[in-house]
Symmetry: C2
Subunit: 235 residues, 2 copies
Protein backbone atom coordinates (compact mmCIF):
# COMPACT_ATOMS: atom_id res chain seq x y z
CA UNK A 1 0.00 0.00 0.00
CA UNK A 2 1.15 3.52 -0.57
CA UNK A 3 0.29 4.92 2.86
CA UNK A 4 -1.58 3.68 5.92
CA UNK A 5 -4.98 5.27 6.28
CA UNK A 6 -6.22 5.44 9.88
CA UNK A 7 -8.42 2.56 11.01
CA UNK A 8 -12.11 3.45 11.36
CA UNK A 9 -13.23 4.22 14.93
CA UNK A 10 -14.20 1.02 16.69
CA UNK A 11 -14.15 -0.73 20.01
CA UNK A 12 -14.17 -4.23 18.53
CA UNK A 13 -10.78 -5.80 18.93
CA UNK A 14 -9.49 -8.75 16.97
CA UNK A 15 -6.38 -10.86 17.27
CA UNK A 16 -4.81 -11.45 13.86
CA UNK A 17 -2.18 -14.16 13.46
CA UNK A 18 0.48 -12.58 11.28
CA UNK A 19 3.41 -14.51 9.85
CA UNK A 20 4.51 -11.80 7.45
CA UNK A 21 3.51 -13.88 4.43
CA UNK A 22 1.10 -13.07 1.66
CA UNK A 23 -1.87 -14.84 3.24
CA UNK A 24 -1.75 -13.50 6.78
CA UNK A 25 -1.00 -9.97 5.54
CA UNK A 26 -4.15 -10.14 3.44
CA UNK A 27 -6.07 -11.38 6.49
CA UNK A 28 -4.86 -8.40 8.50
CA UNK A 29 -6.11 -6.09 5.75
CA UNK A 30 -9.47 -7.91 5.72
CA UNK A 31 -9.91 -7.64 9.50
CA UNK A 32 -9.05 -3.98 9.34
CA UNK A 33 -11.50 -3.40 6.50
CA UNK A 34 -14.19 -5.08 8.61
CA UNK A 35 -13.63 -2.39 11.24
CA UNK A 36 -11.65 -4.25 13.87
CA UNK A 37 -8.85 -2.74 15.90
CA UNK A 38 -6.23 -5.35 15.06
CA UNK A 39 -3.82 -6.89 17.53
CA UNK A 40 -1.26 -8.69 15.41
CA UNK A 41 0.40 -11.76 16.87
CA UNK A 42 3.55 -13.40 15.52
CA UNK A 43 5.72 -16.24 16.76
CA UNK A 44 9.43 -16.79 16.95
CA UNK A 45 9.35 -20.56 17.28
CA UNK A 46 12.75 -21.54 15.96
CA UNK A 47 11.64 -21.38 12.34
CA UNK A 48 14.62 -21.32 10.02
CA UNK A 49 13.03 -18.76 7.74
CA UNK A 50 12.83 -16.11 10.44
CA UNK A 51 12.98 -13.25 7.96
CA UNK A 52 9.22 -13.72 8.44
CA UNK A 53 9.34 -11.71 11.65
CA UNK A 54 10.87 -8.64 10.04
CA UNK A 55 8.19 -8.86 7.37
CA UNK A 56 5.48 -9.19 10.02
CA UNK A 57 6.74 -6.03 11.74
CA UNK A 58 6.69 -4.07 8.47
CA UNK A 59 3.22 -5.29 7.57
CA UNK A 60 1.73 -4.70 11.04
CA UNK A 61 2.95 -1.13 10.94
CA UNK A 62 1.87 -0.46 7.35
CA UNK A 63 -1.61 -1.83 7.98
CA UNK A 64 -2.07 0.13 11.20
CA UNK A 65 -2.21 -2.69 13.76
CA UNK A 66 -3.11 -1.35 17.21
CA UNK A 67 -0.36 -3.53 18.65
CA UNK A 68 2.05 -6.23 17.47
CA UNK A 69 3.36 -8.89 19.82
CA UNK A 70 5.92 -11.58 19.09
CA UNK A 71 5.73 -14.62 21.38
CA UNK A 72 8.93 -16.61 21.58
CA UNK A 73 9.19 -20.34 22.20
CA UNK A 74 11.24 -23.13 20.78
CA UNK A 75 9.67 -26.02 18.91
CA UNK A 76 13.00 -27.43 17.76
CA UNK A 77 13.29 -29.66 20.84
CA UNK A 78 10.23 -31.54 19.64
CA UNK A 79 11.59 -31.99 16.12
CA UNK A 80 9.48 -33.29 13.27
CA UNK A 81 9.47 -30.58 10.58
CA UNK A 82 11.65 -29.24 7.81
CA UNK A 83 10.64 -25.74 8.87
CA UNK A 84 12.36 -26.07 12.25
CA UNK A 85 14.80 -28.97 11.92
CA UNK A 86 17.96 -29.18 9.88
CA UNK A 87 16.22 -31.02 7.04
CA UNK A 88 16.26 -29.85 3.44
CA UNK A 89 13.21 -27.89 2.31
CA UNK A 90 11.74 -29.77 -0.68
CA UNK A 91 12.28 -28.06 -4.01
CA UNK A 92 10.83 -28.24 -7.48
CA UNK A 93 7.66 -30.15 -6.59
CA UNK A 94 4.75 -30.05 -9.04
CA UNK A 95 1.25 -28.92 -8.07
CA UNK A 96 0.17 -32.59 -8.05
CA UNK A 97 3.00 -33.54 -5.72
CA UNK A 98 2.16 -30.64 -3.42
CA UNK A 99 -1.50 -31.72 -3.33
CA UNK A 100 -0.63 -35.25 -2.17
CA UNK A 101 -0.02 -36.14 1.47
CA UNK A 102 1.24 -34.02 4.30
CA UNK A 103 4.44 -32.16 3.40
CA UNK A 104 7.52 -32.40 5.65
CA UNK A 105 7.26 -28.64 6.11
CA UNK A 106 4.16 -29.33 8.25
CA UNK A 107 4.93 -28.34 11.85
CA UNK A 108 3.10 -30.58 14.32
CA UNK A 109 0.17 -28.85 16.01
CA UNK A 110 1.47 -25.44 14.95
CA UNK A 111 -1.84 -23.76 14.26
CA UNK A 112 -3.23 -25.20 17.50
CA UNK A 113 -0.38 -23.63 19.45
CA UNK A 114 -0.73 -20.33 17.58
CA UNK A 115 -4.50 -20.19 18.09
CA UNK A 116 -4.08 -21.06 21.79
CA UNK A 117 -1.84 -18.05 22.35
CA UNK A 118 -4.28 -15.94 20.34
CA UNK A 119 -7.06 -17.15 22.63
CA UNK A 120 -5.05 -16.17 25.72
CA UNK A 121 -4.44 -12.68 24.37
CA UNK A 122 -8.06 -12.35 23.24
CA UNK A 123 -9.24 -13.21 26.71
CA UNK A 124 -7.04 -10.64 28.39
CA UNK A 125 -8.01 -7.95 25.85
CA UNK A 126 -11.71 -8.79 26.00
CA UNK A 127 -11.66 -9.62 22.29
CA UNK A 128 -13.95 -12.27 20.84
CA UNK A 129 -12.54 -12.45 17.32
CA UNK A 130 -9.44 -14.26 16.11
CA UNK A 131 -8.32 -14.18 12.49
CA UNK A 132 -6.11 -16.82 10.88
CA UNK A 133 -4.95 -17.12 7.29
CA UNK A 134 -5.41 -20.84 6.77
CA UNK A 135 -6.31 -21.98 3.33
CA UNK A 136 -7.84 -25.35 2.57
CA UNK A 137 -7.21 -25.22 -1.16
CA UNK A 138 -3.52 -24.54 -1.46
CA UNK A 139 -2.67 -26.29 1.80
CA UNK A 140 -4.93 -29.29 1.55
CA UNK A 141 -2.17 -31.46 2.97
CA UNK A 142 -2.06 -29.66 6.31
CA UNK A 143 -4.54 -31.16 8.78
CA UNK A 144 -4.85 -27.91 10.71
CA UNK A 145 -5.86 -25.90 7.63
CA UNK A 146 -9.21 -27.67 7.17
CA UNK A 147 -12.63 -26.14 7.93
CA UNK A 148 -13.57 -28.96 10.33
CA UNK A 149 -10.43 -28.28 12.34
CA UNK A 150 -11.23 -24.56 12.60
CA UNK A 151 -14.79 -25.34 13.72
CA UNK A 152 -13.51 -27.76 16.39
CA UNK A 153 -11.03 -25.21 17.69
CA UNK A 154 -13.79 -22.63 17.95
CA UNK A 155 -16.01 -25.05 19.89
CA UNK A 156 -13.17 -25.85 22.28
CA UNK A 157 -12.27 -22.18 22.69
CA UNK A 158 -15.77 -21.36 23.87
CA UNK A 159 -15.44 -23.92 26.66
CA UNK A 160 -11.89 -22.90 27.59
CA UNK A 161 -12.39 -19.34 28.66
CA UNK A 162 -13.89 -17.23 31.36
CA UNK A 163 -16.25 -15.61 28.85
CA UNK A 164 -17.35 -19.05 27.70
CA UNK A 165 -18.23 -20.10 31.25
CA UNK A 166 -19.99 -16.87 31.98
CA UNK A 167 -21.76 -16.91 28.62
CA UNK A 168 -20.85 -13.30 27.92
CA UNK A 169 -18.87 -13.72 24.73
CA UNK A 170 -18.80 -16.15 21.87
CA UNK A 171 -15.28 -16.57 20.53
CA UNK A 172 -15.16 -16.71 16.75
CA UNK A 173 -12.27 -18.05 14.68
CA UNK A 174 -12.33 -16.23 11.35
CA UNK A 175 -10.60 -17.93 8.44
CA UNK A 176 -11.53 -15.67 5.54
CA UNK A 177 -9.09 -17.30 3.10
CA UNK A 178 -10.32 -20.81 3.76
CA UNK A 179 -11.87 -21.35 0.35
CA UNK A 180 -9.93 -18.82 -1.70
CA UNK A 181 -7.37 -19.69 -4.35
CA UNK A 182 -3.96 -18.07 -4.19
CA UNK A 183 -4.97 -15.86 -7.13
CA UNK A 184 -8.11 -14.76 -5.22
CA UNK A 185 -5.93 -13.88 -2.23
CA UNK A 186 -3.53 -11.84 -4.37
CA UNK A 187 -6.46 -9.96 -5.90
CA UNK A 188 -8.16 -9.35 -2.55
CA UNK A 189 -4.98 -8.18 -0.83
CA UNK A 190 -4.17 -5.87 -3.71
CA UNK A 191 -7.69 -4.39 -3.63
CA UNK A 192 -7.24 -3.71 0.09
CA UNK A 193 -3.92 -1.96 -0.44
CA UNK A 194 -1.52 -4.61 0.86
CA UNK A 195 2.02 -4.00 -0.36
CA UNK A 196 3.12 -7.55 -1.13
CA UNK A 197 6.66 -6.26 -1.53
CA UNK A 198 6.74 -6.12 2.28
CA UNK A 199 5.78 -9.78 2.68
CA UNK A 200 7.87 -12.93 2.47
CA UNK A 201 6.79 -16.44 1.56
CA UNK A 202 9.94 -18.48 0.83
CA UNK A 203 10.63 -21.45 3.14
CA UNK A 204 14.34 -21.62 2.36
CA UNK A 205 16.63 -19.68 4.72
CA UNK A 206 19.67 -20.36 2.53
CA UNK A 207 18.20 -18.13 -0.16
CA UNK A 208 19.23 -15.15 1.97
CA UNK A 209 15.94 -13.30 2.13
CA UNK A 210 15.15 -13.39 -1.57
CA UNK A 211 12.65 -15.93 -2.92
CA UNK A 212 14.43 -19.19 -3.83
CA UNK A 213 11.80 -19.68 -6.54
CA UNK A 214 11.59 -23.44 -6.16
CA UNK A 215 10.16 -24.36 -2.74
CA UNK A 216 6.42 -25.09 -2.36
CA UNK A 217 5.73 -21.63 -0.94
CA UNK A 218 7.51 -19.87 -3.82
CA UNK A 219 5.65 -22.03 -6.34
CA UNK A 220 2.27 -21.31 -4.79
CA UNK A 221 3.00 -17.61 -4.62
CA UNK A 222 4.22 -17.43 -8.20
CA UNK A 223 1.17 -19.37 -9.37
CA UNK A 224 -1.13 -16.99 -7.50
CA UNK A 225 0.35 -13.86 -9.07
CA UNK A 226 0.41 -15.48 -12.52
CA UNK A 227 -3.24 -16.54 -12.34
CA UNK A 228 -4.23 -13.12 -11.03
CA UNK A 229 -2.39 -11.60 -13.99
CA UNK A 230 -0.24 -9.50 -11.68
CA UNK A 231 3.44 -9.06 -10.98
CA UNK A 232 4.96 -10.04 -7.66
CA UNK A 233 6.75 -6.90 -6.39
CA UNK A 234 9.36 -9.18 -4.78
CA UNK A 235 10.57 -10.41 -8.17
CA UNK B 1 8.67 -42.77 46.94
CA UNK B 2 11.77 -44.33 48.41
CA UNK B 3 13.38 -45.38 45.14
CA UNK B 4 12.38 -45.43 41.50
CA UNK B 5 11.55 -48.90 40.26
CA UNK B 6 12.07 -49.33 36.52
CA UNK B 7 9.02 -48.72 34.36
CA UNK B 8 7.51 -51.90 32.91
CA UNK B 9 8.55 -52.66 29.32
CA UNK B 10 6.23 -50.90 26.92
CA UNK B 11 6.13 -49.17 23.60
CA UNK B 12 3.17 -47.00 24.51
CA UNK B 13 4.31 -43.46 25.07
CA UNK B 14 2.35 -40.81 26.91
CA UNK B 15 2.90 -37.09 27.37
CA UNK B 16 2.29 -36.10 30.98
CA UNK B 17 1.86 -32.42 31.86
CA UNK B 18 3.89 -31.95 35.02
CA UNK B 19 3.84 -28.77 37.08
CA UNK B 20 5.62 -30.26 40.09
CA UNK B 21 2.51 -29.98 42.23
CA UNK B 22 0.63 -32.66 44.10
CA UNK B 23 -1.92 -33.28 41.34
CA UNK B 24 0.32 -33.58 38.29
CA UNK B 25 2.84 -35.70 40.24
CA UNK B 26 0.06 -38.14 41.07
CA UNK B 27 -0.97 -38.15 37.41
CA UNK B 28 2.58 -39.06 36.39
CA UNK B 29 2.49 -41.97 38.86
CA UNK B 30 -0.88 -43.08 37.46
CA UNK B 31 0.32 -42.99 33.85
CA UNK B 32 3.40 -44.95 34.83
CA UNK B 33 1.31 -47.52 36.71
CA UNK B 34 -0.82 -47.92 33.57
CA UNK B 35 2.31 -49.00 31.73
CA UNK B 36 3.14 -45.90 29.70
CA UNK B 37 6.63 -44.69 28.99
CA UNK B 38 6.13 -41.17 30.30
CA UNK B 39 7.37 -38.01 28.59
CA UNK B 40 6.98 -35.28 31.18
CA UNK B 41 6.34 -31.75 29.93
CA UNK B 42 6.67 -28.60 32.03
CA UNK B 43 6.43 -24.91 31.20
CA UNK B 44 8.41 -21.89 32.23
CA UNK B 45 5.81 -19.25 31.33
CA UNK B 46 6.78 -16.41 33.58
CA UNK B 47 4.97 -17.84 36.59
CA UNK B 48 6.07 -16.13 39.79
CA UNK B 49 6.12 -19.37 41.74
CA UNK B 50 8.78 -20.95 39.55
CA UNK B 51 10.02 -23.22 42.33
CA UNK B 52 7.54 -25.45 40.51
CA UNK B 53 10.13 -26.25 37.86
CA UNK B 54 12.70 -27.56 40.34
CA UNK B 55 9.97 -29.70 41.87
CA UNK B 56 8.96 -30.97 38.42
CA UNK B 57 12.55 -32.03 37.73
CA UNK B 58 12.79 -33.93 41.03
CA UNK B 59 9.46 -35.66 40.50
CA UNK B 60 10.15 -36.59 36.85
CA UNK B 61 13.40 -38.24 37.89
CA UNK B 62 11.96 -40.00 40.94
CA UNK B 63 9.04 -41.39 38.95
CA UNK B 64 11.24 -42.60 36.11
CA UNK B 65 10.05 -40.35 33.27
CA UNK B 66 11.63 -41.40 29.97
CA UNK B 67 12.29 -37.73 29.25
CA UNK B 68 11.47 -34.34 30.75
CA UNK B 69 11.21 -31.21 28.64
CA UNK B 70 10.66 -27.64 29.80
CA UNK B 71 9.17 -25.33 27.16
CA UNK B 72 9.83 -21.66 27.78
CA UNK B 73 7.57 -18.81 26.76
CA UNK B 74 6.37 -15.64 28.35
CA UNK B 75 2.73 -15.00 29.14
CA UNK B 76 3.40 -11.85 31.12
CA UNK B 77 3.08 -9.64 28.06
CA UNK B 78 -0.58 -10.67 27.82
CA UNK B 79 -1.27 -9.95 31.50
CA UNK B 80 -4.46 -10.98 33.20
CA UNK B 81 -3.46 -13.28 36.09
CA UNK B 82 -2.12 -13.07 39.63
CA UNK B 83 0.10 -16.05 38.80
CA UNK B 84 2.08 -14.11 36.23
CA UNK B 85 1.45 -10.43 36.95
CA UNK B 86 2.56 -8.36 39.87
CA UNK B 87 -0.79 -8.73 41.64
CA UNK B 88 -1.20 -10.04 45.18
CA UNK B 89 -2.10 -13.72 45.46
CA UNK B 90 -5.36 -13.91 47.45
CA UNK B 91 -4.97 -15.24 50.98
CA UNK B 92 -7.21 -16.67 53.66
CA UNK B 93 -10.21 -17.43 51.44
CA UNK B 94 -12.79 -19.92 52.70
CA UNK B 95 -13.83 -23.03 50.76
CA UNK B 96 -17.06 -21.25 49.81
CA UNK B 97 -15.18 -18.25 48.51
CA UNK B 98 -12.85 -20.51 46.52
CA UNK B 99 -15.86 -22.30 45.01
CA UNK B 100 -17.39 -19.05 43.71
CA UNK B 101 -16.40 -17.45 40.44
CA UNK B 102 -13.13 -17.61 38.58
CA UNK B 103 -10.15 -16.79 40.79
CA UNK B 104 -7.64 -14.13 39.75
CA UNK B 105 -4.99 -16.85 39.78
CA UNK B 106 -6.67 -18.21 36.63
CA UNK B 107 -4.26 -17.82 33.70
CA UNK B 108 -6.14 -17.18 30.42
CA UNK B 109 -6.14 -20.21 28.13
CA UNK B 110 -3.29 -21.79 30.07
CA UNK B 111 -4.41 -25.40 29.81
CA UNK B 112 -5.18 -24.89 26.12
CA UNK B 113 -1.64 -23.67 25.52
CA UNK B 114 -0.16 -26.49 27.63
CA UNK B 115 -2.22 -29.18 25.88
CA UNK B 116 -1.33 -27.72 22.47
CA UNK B 117 2.38 -28.14 23.16
CA UNK B 118 1.68 -31.64 24.50
CA UNK B 119 -0.12 -32.40 21.24
CA UNK B 120 2.87 -31.22 19.21
CA UNK B 121 5.26 -33.40 21.19
CA UNK B 122 2.86 -36.36 21.06
CA UNK B 123 2.71 -36.09 17.31
CA UNK B 124 6.48 -36.06 16.88
CA UNK B 125 6.88 -38.99 19.31
CA UNK B 126 4.05 -41.00 17.77
CA UNK B 127 2.22 -40.91 21.09
CA UNK B 128 -1.58 -40.93 21.26
CA UNK B 129 -2.03 -40.34 24.97
CA UNK B 130 -1.80 -37.08 26.89
CA UNK B 131 -2.29 -36.89 30.65
CA UNK B 132 -3.33 -33.75 32.51
CA UNK B 133 -4.06 -33.27 36.20
CA UNK B 134 -7.13 -31.10 35.96
CA UNK B 135 -9.68 -31.45 38.68
CA UNK B 136 -13.28 -30.33 38.36
CA UNK B 137 -14.07 -30.52 42.07
CA UNK B 138 -11.37 -28.46 43.70
CA UNK B 139 -10.99 -26.13 40.70
CA UNK B 140 -14.61 -25.67 39.73
CA UNK B 141 -13.92 -21.99 39.04
CA UNK B 142 -11.41 -22.67 36.24
CA UNK B 143 -13.17 -23.00 32.88
CA UNK B 144 -10.41 -25.19 31.48
CA UNK B 145 -10.69 -27.76 34.27
CA UNK B 146 -14.16 -28.96 33.28
CA UNK B 147 -14.97 -32.32 31.63
CA UNK B 148 -16.71 -30.67 28.66
CA UNK B 149 -13.59 -28.63 27.98
CA UNK B 150 -11.37 -31.73 28.02
CA UNK B 151 -13.75 -33.53 25.64
CA UNK B 152 -13.76 -30.55 23.25
CA UNK B 153 -9.97 -30.37 23.26
CA UNK B 154 -9.77 -34.08 22.45
CA UNK B 155 -12.19 -33.67 19.54
CA UNK B 156 -10.17 -30.74 18.17
CA UNK B 157 -6.87 -32.61 18.64
CA UNK B 158 -8.08 -35.46 16.47
CA UNK B 159 -8.71 -33.03 13.63
CA UNK B 160 -5.47 -31.11 14.14
CA UNK B 161 -2.91 -33.78 13.52
CA UNK B 162 -1.44 -35.89 10.79
CA UNK B 163 -2.58 -39.06 12.55
CA UNK B 164 -6.10 -37.64 12.73
CA UNK B 165 -6.18 -36.99 8.98
CA UNK B 166 -4.72 -40.37 8.17
CA UNK B 167 -7.00 -42.10 10.68
CA UNK B 168 -4.11 -44.05 12.19
CA UNK B 169 -4.28 -42.82 15.77
CA UNK B 170 -6.96 -41.52 18.06
CA UNK B 171 -5.54 -38.95 20.45
CA UNK B 172 -6.85 -39.32 23.98
CA UNK B 173 -6.72 -36.67 26.68
CA UNK B 174 -6.62 -38.48 30.03
CA UNK B 175 -7.74 -36.51 33.06
CA UNK B 176 -7.70 -39.18 35.78
CA UNK B 177 -8.18 -36.71 38.64
CA UNK B 178 -11.19 -35.04 37.07
CA UNK B 179 -13.70 -36.28 39.61
CA UNK B 180 -11.42 -36.98 42.56
CA UNK B 181 -11.36 -34.96 45.76
CA UNK B 182 -8.04 -33.65 47.04
CA UNK B 183 -8.11 -36.35 49.72
CA UNK B 184 -8.60 -39.04 47.06
CA UNK B 185 -5.62 -37.65 45.17
CA UNK B 186 -3.43 -37.68 48.26
CA UNK B 187 -4.42 -41.30 48.95
CA UNK B 188 -3.92 -42.41 45.36
CA UNK B 189 -0.53 -40.72 45.03
CA UNK B 190 0.62 -42.18 48.33
CA UNK B 191 -0.48 -45.67 47.27
CA UNK B 192 1.54 -45.27 44.06
CA UNK B 193 4.67 -44.21 45.96
CA UNK B 194 4.70 -40.49 45.17
CA UNK B 195 6.92 -38.61 47.62
CA UNK B 196 4.82 -35.48 48.17
CA UNK B 197 7.81 -33.95 49.96
CA UNK B 198 9.26 -33.40 46.47
CA UNK B 199 6.22 -31.48 45.25
CA UNK B 200 5.20 -27.86 45.68
CA UNK B 201 1.74 -26.30 45.64
CA UNK B 202 1.99 -22.78 47.10
CA UNK B 203 1.12 -19.88 44.76
CA UNK B 204 3.03 -17.27 46.75
CA UNK B 205 6.62 -16.62 45.63
CA UNK B 206 7.26 -14.34 48.60
CA UNK B 207 7.00 -17.32 50.92
CA UNK B 208 10.50 -18.32 49.74
CA UNK B 209 9.84 -21.90 48.70
CA UNK B 210 8.00 -22.98 51.84
CA UNK B 211 4.19 -23.20 51.87
CA UNK B 212 2.67 -19.83 52.86
CA UNK B 213 -0.22 -21.74 54.38
CA UNK B 214 -2.88 -19.24 53.40
CA UNK B 215 -3.24 -19.10 49.60
CA UNK B 216 -5.94 -21.17 47.86
CA UNK B 217 -3.43 -23.84 46.82
CA UNK B 218 -2.08 -24.24 50.37
CA UNK B 219 -5.63 -24.44 51.75
CA UNK B 220 -6.69 -27.09 49.24
CA UNK B 221 -3.54 -29.11 49.88
CA UNK B 222 -3.90 -28.93 53.67
CA UNK B 223 -7.57 -29.92 53.42
CA UNK B 224 -6.68 -32.91 51.26
CA UNK B 225 -4.08 -34.25 53.66
CA UNK B 226 -6.36 -33.62 56.64
CA UNK B 227 -9.31 -35.43 55.06
CA UNK B 228 -7.08 -38.30 54.02
CA UNK B 229 -5.85 -38.50 57.62
CA UNK B 230 -2.25 -38.09 56.53
CA UNK B 231 0.57 -35.69 57.22
CA UNK B 232 1.97 -33.43 54.50
CA UNK B 233 5.72 -34.15 54.42
CA UNK B 234 6.31 -30.49 53.46
CA UNK B 235 5.03 -29.29 56.84
Amino acid sequence: MTSATPAPPTTRKAIVLLSGGLDSSTVLAIARAEGYACYALSFDYGQRHNGELAAARRVAKALGAAQHQVVRFDLRAFGGSALTADVAVPKGRTADEMATGIPITYVPARNTIFLSFALAWAETLGAADIFIGVNAIDYSGYPDCRPEYIAAFEAMANLATRAGVEGTTHVRIHAPLLKMSKADIVRRGTALGVDFGMTTSCYDPSAGGVPCGSCDACHLRAGGFAQAGMNDPLL
